[in-house]
């Protein structure tokens, strides 16, 4: 069988990871080996088998829509790398107007 190709650089971009050249070639080798192995899944007849997204059927899992106690603003921000005025701080998202 044709060994599966994986464009690790493109996938890393999707996953918001920056890889060094060395990592990229190592991951390519590792993951192609894994993908060649998982190709065996094709051998099983899954024609009428619904995918199993969950190990157990759970019904009516929603609780009553009544407000409960949440984390305080202070507690929610306690682990923030940067904060300003009770909010998470991030780099500027929009372009400056010229």
């Amino acid at each position: 069988m044709e060994p599966p190709r994986i464009d690790v650089a493109y996938i890393a971009e999707l996953a918001k990871l920056e890889l060094s050249d060395e990592e990229r070639s190592r991951f390519t080798r590792d993951l192609e080996q894994v993908l060649a192995y998982v190709a065996q899944l094709e051998q099983w007849d899954t024609h009428d088998v619904p995918p199993m997204y969950h190990p157990l059927e759970v019904y009516d899992a929603l609780r009553a829509d009544t407000p409960g106690v949440s984390l305080s603003n202070e507690a929610a921000l306690a682990n923030a790398p940067q904060q300003t005025d009770g909010q998470f701080r991030v780099p500027k998202v929009v372009e400056s107007a010229h």
Binding site: I6, L14, L17, L19, L41, W44, H54, R63
Partner: protein, 474 residues
């Protein structure tokens, strides 16, 4: 090289000592703090422990409660209010949990004292305890060997007598396999039995909190306090919680136990084949009926598991972006996208990145049906195998935990695929959501556990057979 270990003492016997006032909860915490101090430099089983905090809890311990005054270590991916929860990752090195996981608040409500954060494979991804930003954990039975993983520190700490019991998490064997490698009891209950609220998510349809203990009685004792429905976890079960200790010592007479022919493989190390044989002989001698069964899709489990686990992980770990919590790259980023990428690149370790990339790939356009959807269908086939066997009257399943005893630490000649393949006997329970336990077998060398699996929510039956084996081997 064997590490000088402390005598392992069960929760059950410590509880009696506390009730008889032979020792106070404060003295007990001091004793375990001393052991941690002495052994941790050699084993690296704990990332940190807060003796002050544990002593404060001990001072208020209510001995009338089922776990009153008993110290229990917590894997570093389970939240304890005000304590670090690092997942052994640089990504969460400064994270302090703003709430208790439900498992931890249940332990507290039962009187236990959370004490010590156990080392692990980063984000629970690994099976040797080596993928930790805080260094590898050593197997206390032989320092040159790995303790197994990902609940490496929990298993090693319990095995070395540094703590009487610990919580772990099991996504594909991460409680049972290190328990097997370190010679302690590892229980993974049915999916949904214990709330996952406050357990850092790896693969949400597979993750389950479990226990590492010195004996089966302690596993039953802990499970009793841990389980129950939780409104904070939509997958937590509403099944009634039986008394897990009531019939624990009633034996296995007449119980039908299946031995899958696919599990008695020539690929198993001789020690593992011997352990299986010993378990069969013992169970038969105790009156159980052992029958050969078949799980035709057993060979498909690892392939299905790694696709699903990595897919779910890539989605779950997308939350680490350096904005709300966790590591943020220091270099000034011009855009949020740069900030996310740099923070993730610097914060995650190698195996985590490898799995995120695999997971992202199998979920990406054009590959979803070929990999992810197909893996979920094969998962259904794996689960059907078990359902069929149980429907045919088999009450428990016996098998190995791992194909071989603990490997040497830093065995660098293994490829990731070879490492993944060693999970063949543990991942099926996670795919199907079944409860399973690893029980140590009598060994003179490295420990080897055997595994029992039960139908959904039949932990009482599982524990009863495990207790029978343990009792016979004393």
């Amino acid at each position: 090289m064997r590490v000088t270990m402390f005598e392992k003492t069960s929760l059950t016997s410590l509880r009696q000592k506390l009730i008889d006032r032979q020792i106070s909860p404060t003295e007990l915490v001091q004793e375990y703090a001393r052991r941690m101090q002495e052994l941790n430099p050699a084993l690296n089983a704990l990332i940190s422990w807060d003796t002050e905090r544990a002593l404060q809890t001990a001072a208020q311990a209510d001995l009338s409660l089922p776990l009153g005054g008993l110290p229990i270590a917590i894997k570093d991916n389970i939240c304890c209010l005000g304590e670090p929860a690092r997942c052994a990752s640089r990504m969460l090195e400064n994270f302090v949990a703003p709430y208790d996981a439900t498992s931890v608040s249940n332990l507290r409500a039962a009187g236990a004292i959370p004490f010590g954060r156990t080392n692990m494979d980063e984000f629970a991804m690994g099976s040797a305890g080596e993928n930790s930003a805080y260094g590898a954990t050593c197997n206390p039975v032989d320092k040159n060997h790995a303790p197994g993983g990902s609940s490496s520190g929990s298993a090693a700490a319990v095995a070395a007598g540094m703590i009487p019991a610990a919580l772990g998490s099991d996504t594909g064997g991460s409680v049972r396999q290190p328990a097997s490698h370190c010679g302690v009891v590892g229980l993974k209950p049915t999916y949904g039995r214990i709330s996952r609220y406050g357990l850092v998510a790896f693969a949400s349809s597979l993750d389950q909190i479990g226990t590492l203990t010195t004996c089966v009685d302690d596993a039953a004792l802990l499970l009793q306090s841990l389980c129950g429905h939780d409104a904070m976890d939509s997958t937590s079960s509403r099944q009634p919680v039986p008394d897990f200790t009531a019939e624990l010592h009633n034996g296995v007479r007449g119980v039908r136990i299946g031995l899958p022919k696919e599990y008695v493989s020539s690929g198993n190390a001789p020690e593992v084949q011997n352990a299986l044989h010993t378990a069969v002989t013992t169970l038969k001698a105790q009156g159980a009926e052992i029958c050969e069964i078949s799980l035709p899709h057993a060979q498909a489990a690892v392939a299905s598991y790694y696709i699903i686990a990595c897919a779910e992980a890539s989605s779950n770990l997308a939350r680490y972006d350096g904005v709300r919590y966790g590591y943020r790259a220091e270099e000034k980023a011009d855009t949020p996208g740069d900030l996310y990428a740099r923070s993730r690149t610097e914060g995650f370790g190698e195996e985590v990145k490898r799995r995120i990339i695999l997971g992202t790939y199998v979920l990406s356009g054009g590959y979803y049906d070929a990999y992810y959807a197909r893996a979920q269908k094969v998962r259904a086939l794996v689960a059907r195998d078990f359902a069929q066997v149980f429907e045919d009257g088999v009450q428990l399943i016996l098998g190995p935990v791992a194909p071989a005893p603990a490997p040497k630490l830093h065995a660098t000649d293994m490829t990731p695929l070879q490492i993944y393949l060693a999970d063949i006997y543990t991942v099926p329970a996670n795919l199907a959501g079944l409860p399973a336990i690893s029980v140590p077998t009598p060994q003179s060398g490295l420990p080897v556990g055997i595994q029992l699996l039960a139908p959904h929510f039949e932990e009482a039956r599982l524990l009863r057979a495990a207790a029978t084996l343990e009792q016979s081997w004393k």
